[in-house]
Amino acid sequence: MKPRFLGRMTLILGLCSGVLGCTSLVHIPNPVPPPLTGRTVAAPLPTVWSASIGALQGMGFQNVAADEHQGVLVTEVKPLAGNTAHNRNSGIARFAVERDIYSEGQSRLHITLLALEESGQTEIRIAPELKGKVEKRGDIKYAPFKPATEEVSDSDNENQAIGVWETLSSNGVLEDRFLAALMDLLHSDNAARQSGDLLPDHSTP
């Protein structure tokens, strides 16, 4: 084969592979499955209601606004500081969005409780509200990560005027954490009740 032919073939194959490579980089999958939106538990509404408040408080949400008529619990806005890596690993909320760096984050949970009268069960619907402040769009380098910083106070937020708050999709960690805490409380309630039933009554002579 002539060197010129080889050179041309090399160039053509290289260009083809380049085009192939560029066209293949279009699909950005979710690193986790979509989060749970609803769950039914075998407990009456009042029990689940009080356990839900306990679970939210256990997760660090101190102020929970309750609308008993509509069966809705709303937590306060939880501020998260640091960059995306810190927000993602802070244990409160992590964001399933790639290629964006958020200097700050916020999380809030809306929980709707519906009584299923016939079966004595309660349906739980969870809707997280996550926001991130865009600091640098299109940055795909990710590193270097800043070290984890402390939570930003309100006065600090006022000083940082740059950036835009953006709604983010949830990766389901917050929802699963809430359900885990809720089930723990419900199970411990059940266990306490059962052990209470079984305990011999020593108060009476």
Binding site: M9, L13, P31, P33, P147, N171, M183
Partner: protein, 252 residues
């Protein structure tokens, strides 16, 4: 004379290279099942998904395509068409140049694997695990699996202290790209997510030492096992500790 020697070598050595891994595989029937590590699959799970670890394919990939590609095949990570094209004579070098641009532009292996679909089937298995945990009411485990998803770019490395230092300036910014070009594009991409480079991979630049990781791949050894054994994901933590020790030594 030299011709005869080469002819004999080609006649005996090449068939041996292909037959040896098959023979080695014949005695390797130990079941391997680890539930602690989320990305380690059982042979049954792999077989169900039509993936056969070990044998000729990973050996071939390790020798011809890249030393890490064969080992990652056993982990369940597929091969990109571009990576196979890299094995072509002449044109392969151009493909290699294109691939190393990925590492140079800051792409990481996890995001490239996600975008090119080579992790799709094992991601599906991981998703099934999360669904199973949620269905059985084990929400704490489901939350853990969601948070520690290996398909999330931000979970590499797992230890935040072991992050590669900033190499965006000077000659340092070429390191991942060059190692990707000379060894294996995945070495460069995984270096970007702070994974270290094995000694045998450095030797692989001379091509023939690739046979060692290739034989490992033929025996069914996985990259994730090697990462754990050789502490590749804490490479930068070790480097940092060494630097500190050296500095202390100097000051003392």
């Amino acid at each position: 004379m030299i011709k005869n020697v080469l002819r004999t070598l080609i006649r005996w050595l090449l068939p041996a290279l292909f037959i040896l891994p098959q023979l080695v595989m014949a005695g390797n029937d130990d079941p391997q099942c680890e539930s602690e590590v989320p990305l380690t699959f059982t042979k049954q799970e792999m077989a169900e998904a039509g993936f056969e670890p070990g044998g000729f394919t990973p050996f071939f990939l390790g020798m011809i395509v890249g030393p890490r590609i064969g080992l990652e095949w056993n982990d369940g990570r597929n091969v990109r068409t571009l990576e196979v094209l890299r094995a072509l004579p002449y044109a392969g070098n151009l493909v290699g140049l294109f691939l190393c641009v990925e590492a140079l532009s800051g792409y990481r292996m996890t995001s490239v694997a996600g975008e090119t679909g080579i992790d799709d089937w094992r991601r599906e298995i991981y998703f099934k695990r999360i669904h199973k945990a949620e269905q059985t009411g084990d929400f704490a485990q489901a939350a853990h699996l969601r948070e520690c998803s290996p398909f999330d770019t931000y979970n590499h490395p797992a230890n935040r202290q072991a992050v590669k230092p900033d190499e965006s300036t000077g000659l340092a910014k070429w390191r991942s790209g060059i190692s990707g070009f000379l060894i294996d594009n995945r070495v460069g991409l995984e270096r970007e997510e702070s994974r270290g480079i094995r000694t045998v991979e450095y030797w692989s630049i001379l091509w023939l030492p690739r046979i060692f990781p290739a034989i490992d791949a033929a025996q069914g050894e996985t990259m994730s096992d090697i990462v754990r054994k050789e502490h590749l994901d804490t490479e930068w933590l070790k480097n940092d500790a060494d630097n500190k020790n050296t500095q202390q030594g100097v000051t003392q």
